[in-house]
Symmetry: C2
Subunit: 171 residues, 2 copies
Amino acid sequence: MENTLQNKELTMESVITQSELLEHWQGHRKLTRRVIEAFPEKELFSFSVGGMRPFSELAMEMIKMAGPGIRGVLTGKWKQFGEVDSDYEKSEPKTKTEILELWDITTREIDEVWPQIPVQRFHEVEAAFGQYEGTMISTIFYLIDNEIHHRGQGYVYLRALGIEPPYFWER
Amino acid sequence: MENTLQNKELTMESVITQSELLEHWQGHRKLTRRVIEAFPEKELFSFSVGGMRPFSELAMEMIKMAGPGIRGVLTGKWKQFGEVDSDYEKSEPKTKTEILELWDITTREIDEVWPQIPVQRFHEVEAAFGQYEGTMISTIFYLIDNEIHHRGQGYVYLRALGIEPPYFWER
């Protein structure tokens, strides 16, 4: 009883709890998945504006950062960004379906790893991916914010293709 | 002494503290300010891709949400989004300099209001702007994420104009 109360108080001392932040991120990830789905197969891999990368490459950047990123936060073992350390990071998907499969693998991995991260760990400073020095919470926000940033660019691609993107507030 | 220790422990129980979250947001705001600056005067107000709004309008949306949003979080008094409640929200800037001035007013306002928000307040549920029901932390993340989203779109506009945007990780 005392413990429960204490936990409740601790929660109330946080602006956001660990599980709320997971829900926040996964909400964004659901929206990004819908943006991937909204692209026609061909344009997903070929269309862009201003010489930028097509959305397939932006989505693969998110996938290659999120899984290895969250594993690094948990374990403190970092590979260079893009360095291959599991089957799905090796693959270079050629279809929307393959990208969505990788997306879903990452979603499950984040759900699995997240509750194992001790809360103190978020404040530890380390070079993420062996090179980006910062607290683990700043690394996690980098993953989330980079996804929002590139997804926003995907919205422009979709508009330029005459396709209505999903509502931003739909999570 | 005991109090200090207790506070430290409470901090360590949070994934992010209230002051860290302010720093995070203001870091994003500095980058968005640089994106506004990067636009040529004329294109800031006229250029867009795919029939979207020019970046001046996206920046004004951010300005009209951030100040009133953070005041609403503090006071619980909400106006409809876009409803005029102070001089600077009335103004419809016609120059980049005017937008940057409004930007800086908002930056100072956030800095002023933020520390006055009791931490428990972040968990209270309320209809932000009289219509968007959610916890105050979800409202604040909406403000931050909406800024990142539209700023990402500004990056595409800049690229389409042949202008190199500021580095995403520069805050």
